[in-house]
Amino acid sequence: MTNRLEIKLWLAHRLTGMALGLFVIIHLITMIVVIQGGLSAAEIMERTSSNILVVIFYGLFVIAAAIHGSLGLRTVAQEVLSWRGSSLNFVILVFFALLCVLGMVAIKGLVL
């Protein structure tokens, strides 16, 4: 029922927004501490290899960002491009899937 879908998407957007608020702060602080004195692949991978924390934190981060970003783009497309309906929903789903896949691949590359 469209009724429940729109409100569920809105709630998902807000809840992931809250989660991202926390994740982004942690991510930014971590990045700033870590890149002091330059950045190299070996250094990054040394810290992230076989690190289960990286998988969990960044896994959740990727999913939350993928949901939040996709839903945001959907609203913008509807209001700015007047693009609505199943064709938009399909494209958004594809974008969501793309973000999840790319994100998980990136995590895999860093951890393995």
């Binding site: 009724n3 429940r4 729109e6 409100i7 809105w10 709630l11 509807q78 209001e79 007047s82």
Partner: protein
């Protein structure tokens, strides 16, 4: 008396959706409201000009239209306060079908009012006792904050989301729904929450707050809509929707 020589150019929308701005050169008169100005143009210059008004004292909201792009009440707007570089532009309210010149069809506005269940519905059981509502009752205070709306349509005209989302119920309809959600005597809470959470429901508001900026009664539909969003979210998580 010296400023009677000063002339200003008033551009007024003529026609329907298709139409054009027509210019009138009129004297700038002290203490003249835009409504006065329109009336003098219609009586002395062009009797075919169409515009709405009723009370002319800021109580009915009939005279709402766009002045230099911003929606306001013409009976409560002094020409001297809004004229800039000797020019003034008058157009009908935005986001509503134009009937003629400065007159719009308010039907879609009221249709959405009804669609958001902006009407009181008594509880099923016969009322055996008065509902005691004390002045310090929190819900009553919330309802009172939102109750003064006279459906003038200014907020509807100002809202960017109304413009970009045809289904959006709009600030006024949602503001009224919120005041009723806080009415102890009303019995249709769940149906109303469903009505304001469909396509074009409260979740479509982006807190642009142009409604707040323009409301002549200084109501706050953004805040009312925020209240609805919370109630809808809670009801949904509880499975009541």
């Amino acid at each position: 008396m010296s400023n009677q020589q000063e002339k200003i150019t008033v551009s007024i929308w003529r026609g329907k959706e298709e139409g054009d701005l027509e210019s009138f050169e009129v004297p700038l008169v002290d203490n003249q409201t835009i409504l006065d100005l329109l009336t003098s143009i219609q009586r002395d210059v062009d009797p075919s000009l169409s515009y709405r008004f009723a009370c002319r004292v800021g109580m009915c909201g009939s005279c709402a239209m766009r002045v230099n792009g911003k929606p306001r009440w013409t009976c409560r707007t002094l020409v001297s306060k809004v004229v800039s570089n000797g020019e003034l532009r008058l157009e009908p309210l935005a986001n509503l079908p134009v009937v003629k010149d400065l007159v719009v069809d308010m039907a879609p506005f009221f249709d959405k009012w009804q669609a958001g269940k902006g009407r009181f519905e008594a509880k099923d059981s016969a009322v055996m006792e008065f509902a005691p509502i004390k002045p310090d009752n929190k819900k009553r205070q919330l309802a009172d904050e939102a109750i003064e709306c006279i459906n003038c349509g200014v907020c509807y005209s100002a809202c960017d989301v109304v413009e970009s989302n045809p289904a959006f119920l709009g600030p006024a309809a949602l503001n009224r729904a919120w005041s009723l959600m806080n009415d102890e005597r009303d019995g249709s809470s769940i149906e109303r929450l469903k009505a304001v959470s469909g396509e074009g429901g409260c979740q479509s508001c982006h807190t642009n707050s142009q409604c707040v900026a323009r409301c002549p009664l200084q109501l706050n539909p953004t805040r009312s809509i925020a209240g609805l969003k919370k109630q809808v979210a809670v009801a949904m998580l509880k499975g009541e929707l």
